[in-house]
Amino acid sequence: MIKRLLVALDNRLNAASFTRRTLTKVFPDHWSFMLGEIALYAFLMLVLTGVFLTFFFDASQATTTYNGTYQPLNGVEVSQAFRSVLDISFDVRAGLVMRQAHHWAALIFVAAIIVHLCRIFFTGAFRKPRDINWVVGVTLLLLAIFNGFTGYSLPDDLLSGIGLRVLYSIALSIPLVGTWLAYLVFGGEFPAEGIISRLYSIHIMIIPLTIGAILTIHLALVWHQKHAQFKGPGRTESNVVGSRLWPTYAVKSVGLFFMVAAVIMALGGLFQINPVWFFGPFDPAQVTSPAQPDWYMGWMEGALRLFPPWEIGAFDHVIVPAPFFPAVLLPGITFAFLYAWPFLEAWLTGDHDAHNLLDRPRDRPIRTSLGVATLGFYIMLLVAGSNDLIAKWLLVNVGAVTNVLRVLLFVVPVFAGLLTFSLLRGLVASGARRLTDMPASAVWQSWKRDN
């Protein structure tokens, strides 16, 4: 019976040959090739938990008097959006664990993309022909960060309102078009009625659908171009050595999904995240401290805190306000460099060939060192986003912390880059298999031999 059905399907769709090809497709074996999958499964968890949340979330900014289970806010005027988030947290069955899992999944989603990006970068997987997929991937990162921010803003609590105010101010700082743009996005002067419902449409529909579409392209390109592999016996530029999709890789991958889901749900149940009931409903007259964005926006927050109050003015007008440089120009340059890197590197090295075999990070010491230095720069910016907490913990002046971080922002990348470069040279010179096997003298030897 089942066989007849399948034969009937095959006669019409010619599905057997496609299925056979698909199931026997070979993927190279290396655990780091599953990093992108972690991001994919975190995204899947975002969709699953997010759909649950849409059943109960109300994006309206109309005010109402809260009258629910959470006693300390009883009788307080709140927006419908905030009220519905409190309801999700206290009155909807499993609402709080789903809300928290959704937030944790978002943090892990972007983190997994970053780790995946690092793997692609340090192994040279972005080189031709996969440079096109690098561009697709960077777009996904951009969308993930943006959607994270829109989601962070939806509960309409005090902390997220502060975040929106920062965004509004950043939009205002753009020369000439800033005020128009801020009005256009927010639909009026901050705090504008209706920004939550706009963000909601963007957060649950426009960006997720775009991510879904671009993700499909991303995966189709991996499929079509085949996965790059590390050098090894029998591995050439024109073959792929590894496990078949069915059963080996499929089982691994499905297993990984359940593991990712388990970790996200466990975090959702065990660790409190974004306790909006403490922050209360957004009120433009209130502020709370410490106030930070989620980590993936933290580097921008750090840039805003470190950048000196420099403005460009002319004819008694401020033409370019200070936030423009750290909050618009820096992210712009960051993503311009990310997009351009494969082509920039090909241009710099003169290597325009297609590569299907991956580099080990030590094979390309300059690229690896530049990568580490760049990571150092953005990690320092991220740290700077917590300058007030550092000042509090170390009992020092927050201004002093800021000044020290301003220096470290440039010292740390240079130091990290040079250290990486030295270690990699020693690693190559000593022929050690791992960094931990390398004798410390090898670094010194590799420098001495040059002179």
């Binding site: 972690i38 009883n74 593991m259 660790f271 974004n274 930070q292 509090k392 170390l394 009992l395």
Partner: protein
Amino acid sequence: MRKWLLLLGILLAGCSYGTTSAPHRPPSDVMGPETRGPVLYARDCAWCHGSNGEGTARGPNLNGDLDGGAYTHFMLSTGRMPLSSPTARAQRRTAVLTPTQIDAVIEHVKTFGGTGPDIPKVEPTTGHLGTGSELYLSNCAACHSATGTGGALTSRRAAPHLTNPDITPVQMAEAMLVGPGCRNNDSTCGFGSGAMPNFDFSETEVNSITAYVSYLQHGGDHGGFAIGRIGPVAEGAVGWIIGLGSILLIGRWVGTRMGDNE
């Protein structure tokens, strides 16, 4: 390196508290209530505040428009005063004086002519939590944080965290009434001391705010480990280290074939 030296210095300074605050003389409860106050004041306070509360170069006067029962009780009952040395940091610790001694010193300080409020009567149970949370978020959260964890201020000052259950409603109310700590331009204030303004709250408002702060002290966390209640910084750390960290370990285990070394 300098940061570490600074940290070491702070730790050493902390140790010196323990050693120097111990050799206080035995409690002078043998004295009568009339002599106890002046004697304790002369022993522990006059060095910096002057023998009649007129203030010296080492410490502010105690006869101003905020000085009186509330201010003195706040400083003594939270252990901020007396300091073990004029340069020590006035921060919360176990009270040095006993309640009887504190009452005696307060009575003596009142004779200096300060016109500040007396120790307030506080009844958090009559307060309204909703009103308290609104007032707290409008007036307190900017420095003490919406979650009560405290926060950094400028000029090496910090707003203390309020989640310590030892902080009594009376102490909270006193802090609101007098705004303890120093003005930013006051050079006699020690390292890290606060700069809290005094607020003009009604009695019912004070009751509601203390009710809400007591609530912050005794609960309010509903989603598992509170991870410090400091928001996205701790959340990011947990997301990366525990979340992605464990997933990476799992991924490495799933993605590595048995017998593979790499």
